[in-house]
Amino acid sequence: MIYFTDGTAESFLTAFWLAFKDGESYITSTQKQLSLGQKTVFVAADGEKAERARKRLLSFDKNCMDDLSLLLRSGQENREQIANRYLHLLAEKKEPVSKMFAEEAVTEATECIRRVTFEIHRLHGFVRFMETASGALYSPLSPDNDVVDLLVPHFRARLTEYPFVLHDVKRKKAAVYDGKNTFLAPLEQANIILSADEKGWQELWQRYYKSVNIPERERLKQMRGYMPVRYWKFMPEFDSF
């Protein structure tokens, strides 16, 4: 049986609850997974079932909902199924399984979570703000995983006096810090008026980037390994390349 969810945690937990007795279940939020000959069911979030599943799972491992939250943020298409297998094992063993690395379900979940948290770490470095005419900072990005709101605490702590917008242009939403509060909002397209100096600072940064390189020691493969090309498009240092 294939269970389709709407991508939310509530819908996932409802599906998990329904699927648990099923044995050979597959949970997904991606329509592409539809295969012929398989029975399918569309699962709407059911608050009561989801809550029962949550309580049960938490009684085995008090951290499992944090794991689930990170798994569902993954950009991998099989994220719901990875979460399904991981939580299924937890429900079977009735004790925390997060360190049972010899289990395939645990390794898969660990790696999936690690890809999400690693991208958060990377973006702490790779985000590039532009200064707008109002003094607020704006950064467009298109992360692999759904993490813009998780970037906010880091930047808020260091740029307390500057309102900023982290715009996930792929998912068309933005994490906003208005100088006081933070919130998540849908955002299709942003019309940005840059500050008078912005271009000048970008040019200085480009100059710095070129000057600090040692051309005699070119190692492009290593460079791309550390900073995959998909992150380059929002970085001013690559504008002139």
Partner: protein, 416 residues
């Protein structure tokens, strides 16, 4: 705003300093901008594969010293420029605000005198910390022969300081950097280590070099063998309490009859860093890593080389071996060792489990048994043959047994 021409010259003068790390400081944002990121943070990578974490720049490239290897030495025919403390502070703030950098790495040529130069560096970091209320990372280069009081003041603002020992022996230093002496480099390091200890002991308020000290030496410009360099490194960690020792393989930017014309190999530098890791994270001593008068082998990493010299200790059983021994198995790093310790509490580990756990078995399989099974080569000669470079394809063949792609595994664990 500093102009592009000076930014270029002052950056090019600073770029051979290899330290890029911004780790080790948990400085808080106490009103203003910036904070420490204990794990360190890379903001960009240049085509040479190095990370940009800090704005690495000189205050001035106008030098009264004449160190042979240095492009800014007194005799060199280069354009001389400098920046003001204001310009450096403004640049740091505006780069930091845009998240280009994690902080500042400030150094300088010795312009008039050591004290005069050190005073300008201190004035700049003080300006940043007090007027600009900047709490991001600051790595400050110490100027040899500056007064103790200036050094102390610098340390009260900086997160990390470094005096580069430049060359791996006193004799080479005399020959190539005659105006710097061993004492002029080691005394301030000792002073800072001593004062940091006092600061801690008296539990004083504020911060005193929270990210400690580092140093750097050029490898391949002078004749010291790796064995000697690794011993020096060990003594710097043990006696000076340094956080990191950096190596910079020699790049001939200056021609001088006392200097080699060819660059030192990058592989040699890489092997030294591997040895450095063994000292810091794997419980090895310099004596175990290399004989004093020898270089590290280039065709094998230093852990493999050690293991091949100590085959009588292997294979070890992954289900029983203590952490210290697991860490000595070639191919098993810190993360794999931890995973093995955790996973074996629940089940007896076989090779299929290790592969599933993404433990890299290419080298490890010659040195371990898993649940009594051994999949390594028959004898030492065969192991050596398989471990040395150029045998990659054959290894990949053998590993497909476990149905995992070897390159994907090493990419995941980051192990080289």
């Amino acid at each position: 705003m500093i102009d592009e021409m000076r930014l270029k010259i002052l950056t090019e003068g600073a770029k051979y300093d290899v330290s890029c790390s911004s780790s080790g400081s948990k400085r808080k944002n106490e009103g203003g901008m910036g904070n420490g990121y204990a794990a360190g943070c890379c903001h960009s990578f240049t085509p040479d594969g190095r990370c940009i974490s800090l704005l690495k720049i000189l205050m001035s490239n106008n030098c009264i010293y004449n160190c042979k290897y240095c492009p800014n030495r007194l005799d060199a025919d280069v354009r001389r420029v400098s920046a003001t403390p204001e310009e450096i502070a403004q640049l740091t703030i505006d780069f930091y605000k845009r998240n280009y950098i994690e902080g500042l790495f400030l150094s300088s040529a010795v312009e008039k005198s050591p004290n005069d130069t050190m005073e300008r560096l201190v004035r700049t970091v003080k300006l940043l910390r007090t007027q600009y209320r900047f709490h991001g990372y600051i790595h400050l280069k110490g100027i040899p022969r500056a007064d103790e009081a200036l050094i102390r003041e610098a340390a009260s603002y900086a997160d990390r300081m470094s005096y580069n020992i430049e060359l791996p022996s006193e004799a080479s230093l005399k020959l190539l950097a005659p105006q710097k002496s061993k004492e002029s480099l080691l005394l301030p390091m000792k002073q800072l280590a001593r004062e940091k200890a006092v600061f801690r002991e008296e539990k004083r308020k504020g911060l005193f070099l929270p990210a400690g000290q580092t140093t750097q030496m050029i490898v391949g410009a002078s004749p010291e063998p790796d064995g000697q360099i690794v011993r020096l490194t060990q003594s710097l960690y043990r006696n000076m309490g340094l956080k990191r020792v950096y190596y910079s393989s020699y790049v001939p930017v200056v021609h001088d009859s006392l200097l080699p014309d060819l660059p030192a190999g990058q592989l040699r530098e890489h092997r030294l860093y591997q040895a450095d890791w063994l000292l810091r994270f794997y419980g090895f001593t310099a004596e175990e890593i290399a004989p004093e008068n020898e270089n590290l082998p280039l065709d094998l990493d230093p852990k493999c080389a050690w293991a091949l010299r100590n085959m009588h200790l292997f294979p070890v059983e992954v289900n029983r071996a203590p952490l210290e021994m697991l860490l000595r198995v070639p191919g098993i790093g810190g993360r794999s060792a931890q995973k093995i310790l955790e996973a074996r509490r629940y089940t007896k580990l076989g090779f299929e489990h290790l592969a599933r756990m993404r433990v890299v078995l290419k080298r490890a399989r010659h040195f371990i048994t898993a649940n009594g099974k051994f999949y390594g080569a028959e004898n030492e000669t065969a192991v050596r043959g398989l471990l040395t470079a150029g045998e990659k394809n054959e290894n990949a063949e053998q590993l497909s047994l476990f149905g995992t792609s070897e390159t994907a595994l090493s990419a995941l664990t980051g192990e080289l």
